[in-house]
Symmetry: C2
């Protein structure tokens, strides 16, 4: 497969949602124009994105919703559930652990950890907050694929080092810190302050 940019992967996720919505309304086909309009891009971009993976559409007929759904799910690795652990049981960790959307989309939260004795043992929607000491063993036992890091900035690198040592190969970091991961481990950062600063820039520079 050709190298695919992060932004192309992002668009595939969006197409997947539109396809799921289309499927829910009973639609059997969808045009590149419709996918483009909803994804805020062009038909040419949609066709280019989808052509990376082979040829799905028939000219003038649009894409089969069912077929395209199956293909994109397969490309994105969503044909199997992923095991997720949340490290940090503060407000953010709590919010993330309760996202109904995650499980519906195949991200199954298997464990929540915290270092704070006041939080350990609390029950969160079927999960019990576990102490940090249980992390290594639990991550392995639960075959955790993805760790969500929701701890303070100063603790984040230590957490990442531990989850990586326990075999986790994908990390979604919410701590406002630049983290290092070894080769073979994928790190994504969600940095809300940075997004706000982007908005600030747009406000003063009149860019929308």
């Amino acid at each position: 497969m050709k190298k695919i940019s992060e932004s192309a992967v992002r668009r595939l996720s969006l197409y997947l949602r539109f396809l799921q919505e289309a499927a829910a309304t009973g639609a059997e086909t969808i045009s590149s124009g419709e996918l483009a309009r909803r994804g805020g891009t062009t038909s040419a971009q949609v066709r280019k994105d989808l052509s990376l993976f082979g040829s799905f559409g028939k000219r003038g007929m649009g894409y089969s919703v069912r077929e395209l759904l199956r293909e994109i799910r397969s490309i994105l690795g969503l044909t199997r559930p992923w095991h997720v652990a949340v490290v940090g049981a503060g407000r953010l960790g709590s919010a993330l652990s309760s996202f109904r959307d995650f499980e519906a989309r195949g991200f199954d939260i298997r464990a929540v950890f915290d270092a704070d004795p006041a939080k350990i043992g609390q029950s969160w929607g079927g999960l019990t907050v576990l102490p940090d000491e249980a992390m290594d063993r639990t991550l392995r036992e639960q075959n955790v694929d993805i760790a969500i890091v929701a701890v303070p900035a100063e603790a984040a690198q230590g957490v990442v080092d531990r989850v990586v040592a326990a075999g986790v190969r994908a990390v979604l970091n919410f701590a406002p810190a630049r983290l290092r991961v070894p080769r073979g481990v994928t790190l994504r950062n969600v940095d809300v302050t940075l997004e706000l600063e982007g908005l600030s820039f747009a406000l003063v520079n009149g860019k929308a």
Copy 2:
């Protein structure tokens, strides 16, 4: 000023943090190499980013930390505080409202809104959760610049339409929905499921 890409603005935010950390340790100068190393980019990229705004560094001397801090803060519009409102007082809204980092970085949360009578009137760190009906008036009275949308997907477009009608020109959306804003309003989306799907893609495609 030349057109600046979203990713360049993102890097400026990161440079700003490194400069603040450098200033905190008493450093007076910083090299493009140091900024590059910490930002995961190249010295050439750093020099290019900073040259967009004029000439700060002296060859072989590095950049003045104080001067560069001041310039980047000015470029990003961070020389004044921004007024922020959070719409949606669920777990995520609660987590966002309590981020200490926001106020420290000039994003001052002035109001929190919710439609749920059980949440209205609750006190959150000096703020009282206000009913939706108070939104229009409060956004204007508090001169809110930025709205953070933390409501369910199906309610998000309605909220955006209301805050925009009340004069808000920047929106940070956490709802898993594609929203429309009129020209002149900037929208950024933080979509956690999409980030997880990007990690899923990386896990199955061996891309790190």
